[in-house]
Symmetry: C2
Subunit: 562 residues, 2 copies
Amino acid sequence: MKIAIAQLNPIIGDIENNAQNIYKAAHIAVERKAELLLTPELSLCGYPPKDLLLNDSFVDSLWIELEELAKKIPKNLAILVGTVIKNSHAYLHGEKPLFNSIVLIENQAIKQIFHKRLLPTYDVFDEDRYFEPGKESNFFQLSSHVPHVKPIKIGVTVCEDLWNDEEFWGKRNYEDNPIQDLVKHGVNLVVNLSASPYSIGKQKTREAMLKYSAERYNIPIIYTNQVGGNDDLIFDGNSFAVSKDAEITLRAKGFQTAIEVVEYEQNSQDLEISYIANSLETEEEEIWSALVLGLKDYAYKCGFSKAILGLSGGIDSSLVAAIAAEALGKENVLGILMPSPYSSSHSITDAEALVNNLGISSHTLAIRDVMKAYDVLLEPLFKGTEFGVAEENLQSRIRGNLLMAIANKFGHLLLSTGNKSEMAVGYCTLYGDMNGGLAVISDVPKTRVFSLCKWLNRHEEVIPHNVLIKPPSAELKPDQVDQDSLPAYDILDAILDRLIHRHQSIKEIEAAGFDYDIVCKVVKLVTRAEFKRKQAPPGLKVSDRAFGTGWRMPIASRWKLD
Amino acid sequence: MKIAIAQLNPIIGDIENNAQNIYKAAHIAVERKAELLLTPELSLCGYPPKDLLLNDSFVDSLWIELEELAKKIPKNLAILVGTVIKNSHAYLHGEKPLFNSIVLIENQAIKQIFHKRLLPTYDVFDEDRYFEPGKESNFFQLSSHVPHVKPIKIGVTVCEDLWNDEEFWGKRNYEDNPIQDLVKHGVNLVVNLSASPYSIGKQKTREAMLKYSAERYNIPIIYTNQVGGNDDLIFDGNSFAVSKDAEITLRAKGFQTAIEVVEYEQNSQDLEISYIANSLETEEEEIWSALVLGLKDYAYKCGFSKAILGLSGGIDSSLVAAIAAEALGKENVLGILMPSPYSSSHSITDAEALVNNLGISSHTLAIRDVMKAYDVLLEPLFKGTEFGVAEENLQSRIRGNLLMAIANKFGHLLLSTGNKSEMAVGYCTLYGDMNGGLAVISDVPKTRVFSLCKWLNRHEEVIPHNVLIKPPSAELKPDQVDQDSLPAYDILDAILDRLIHRHQSIKEIEAAGFDYDIVCKVVKLVTRAEFKRKQAPPGLKVSDRAFGTGWRMPIASRWKLD
């Protein structure tokens, strides 16, 4: 029996359009002789719908659209659609008002509803805010239209439901383990409908985890994931299937929509080998693909076709320009060079070389006269004070204003170009270089920015060579380099990794061989920069802990990390 | 038996200092002959500690500090301290790693631990992110040092634990009802340790609710609340006690720290009348008190003593200046007047009148020449285009830059002055007038800004009369008034109230008598302004749904509210 997976890219809240895409996928599935189609978690509204769920009319619209959709699905196709279902017992039992559910449409009617049981409420996830967990796992019986094929019992799970194998993780994440319950029900196959956001190496974890569970429970599993960028989150797709003996039998291409078909074989009661896309080879290729998709979808879903960014001749803006050119087309990217009297000559020549390499447009606006106008105006107030952060930031903010003026004038999306190391320690100017609708690489540490650029140059020079070898500098005062104020980036990034991703204390980081004073300095900088991060644009998430939805820190706090 | 409540103002994460304040309160309690002292929820770390809880070393520090504190508490005082306790079964049972707990210290030792059962995970609350709910409600027995006084059984609850009276609410919010369980245990008294943030009219709700429960269960209740501003949240204190027959027997003053004592009387098994502060008379007085405290604490806890803001002669900046003068002292507030060629003469004279009324400092910076410098620079790019949003925003951003330059130079906290109506429809400039470390009135609708100013002028003119009567204008182009682009503010605010606070659909709002096209326009503006709000500074929350921590909307979404 053939089962299709639709790796769809929904737009949050665009219910009609999402339904249309499910409908189209259903027709393709039928053409390919599939008898069941799987779509991702919340495929009807897109994941995550967030506080749209607090509007009754939103939830009502989903149900109405679902009923419409059911009538249009070909009769010979069963389909699992992700949507939200009202919890009619909520007020009586003191439960949450909604379920995160999967609806089985069969024979053009709504036949059965399955509720997600394990609700992630960590990092970027807030599912307990909206949903009541389902109390039991359930299955449905799928009868084939092909003569002499026995019906199969298919267990339905939603995303996190399969992330609780205590043997695989070495601990329980939730009390229940849905796959165990389904196996007790005697299902032949487990399907999982997911909206699992990308982070570096996550696909490896997913495959290792589901291989483990497939083998442990001697059951094949089909995993269907959402694809596409939604604000800070990038869903990578990478839907796949695993046989009973832990073999990958299907893998859709990552970072793009896809419809694939896998065969459930009657006699072996297992999945047959089908299309298997290659895994991406390097972390750099993964991150690059993720950022390109994230930028492309953010622009498209917000209604922008063109982007603008400041080009300083530095490595961060160079990388962002390259990502933008790939995501939106070189003809849709405008780079603005904004030299000041403190700018080096290579800041211009390197930016120009980049513009040439990428084939994007550019324009140069020297900010000297605007700086002077501010200086004259502020002179009575600033008389007798020394050149300092105020003057440095002002240059960055003049550039930010120019970029926003052009963006406003021509309807461009402004991209901010700060990296994660800068965002961590606050080495960036609020209302200056932090300006933008999207922070493209704000979850990419500086050392990774370098490795991405080197990877990008593997066949030919994309990022000019000089950009890669010169010492990073904000060029906001004469002869300034980043390392005047910050530890070397390899040391900084290593400390930040321990601090941010591994939740280590100063003592633990020191014990790993880092200088105590440097660690303390970094911790202090990170803590103090919270007010800047609070006002940062959404940044594309590629790590397991980004400064964004999943980073919830108090600003006015005084904890001295021990 | 005397019981003291300490309405404390902790600094998030400043464990040592918070412990010191608990210690001081304990000594005052003993002086006043109290035998038990109640402190607020999470009094040791401050509420909400947010992702600081993800650091093991933070949680460990809390326990160490608690043990130190226990040794120092006078022997004749029992005390309930709010802190976080590790859940040792978490990995085994698949539970959350922490409890939100209350620790009983008696005779200088940790005697008993109580866990919060009902964990709010709506609006600004994320407790399911960190905490496992306690499985049962518990009590302790307090023996008096006074001869012949019988011990009393005291049931312990934490904040939300008492917010689930299904008779009072007409529905269940949670499955369990801790007070019911405690009554079954035969307790004589229920205490509640809270960190309940302020919103308009909330104290009325709290008192009505606990009066209802006290009478229903025939049990006295003592409610101790945190006070003080923590980022966007303002905790109002307003701790109180209710007797069995639903009489208020104690009320601490709101919006300030307090230590009060209430007597539990042996024979009546009830609380005796003690100090009862007056409730604030008007909503305006409440909001004013909240905003003053919120600004004062944000500045203090972030290390600022002085504030700066732009004065446009309009009502929003006038109100914020008045709040700042009250919160920080008039000598610590600097107003900057930044007229452009589009500014009216009254924008200057009204601002100057305000400066005089408040006695704050001011400085005038005419932005004409800086505008010209930008115009010259952008001329080659903007040639042939019409004056529009780009040019309007540029003026606002020049002002934003000037304010940030002065703030950076002299270490002032920049206050942004936008109101909730503007923030809702995006009638504000990102990186312009939205600039600031704190958005003081971003949860106050324009109509309420007016009523607050009128209230403020009840005895003498604080806000100049002309500010109150002239039509609101951004003055970014000749003869502009807000109502060129927006519906009248009374209509706009009424629509926004239904949309934001009551989750109504377009159809429902229309059915309430509003023009369909106007409602659609407002909804569209609100949806489109999401990217601006995402980058707004923290704003002081005074409503039950503010644009901040508790407002979680997707940006790249396309739901057309029906």
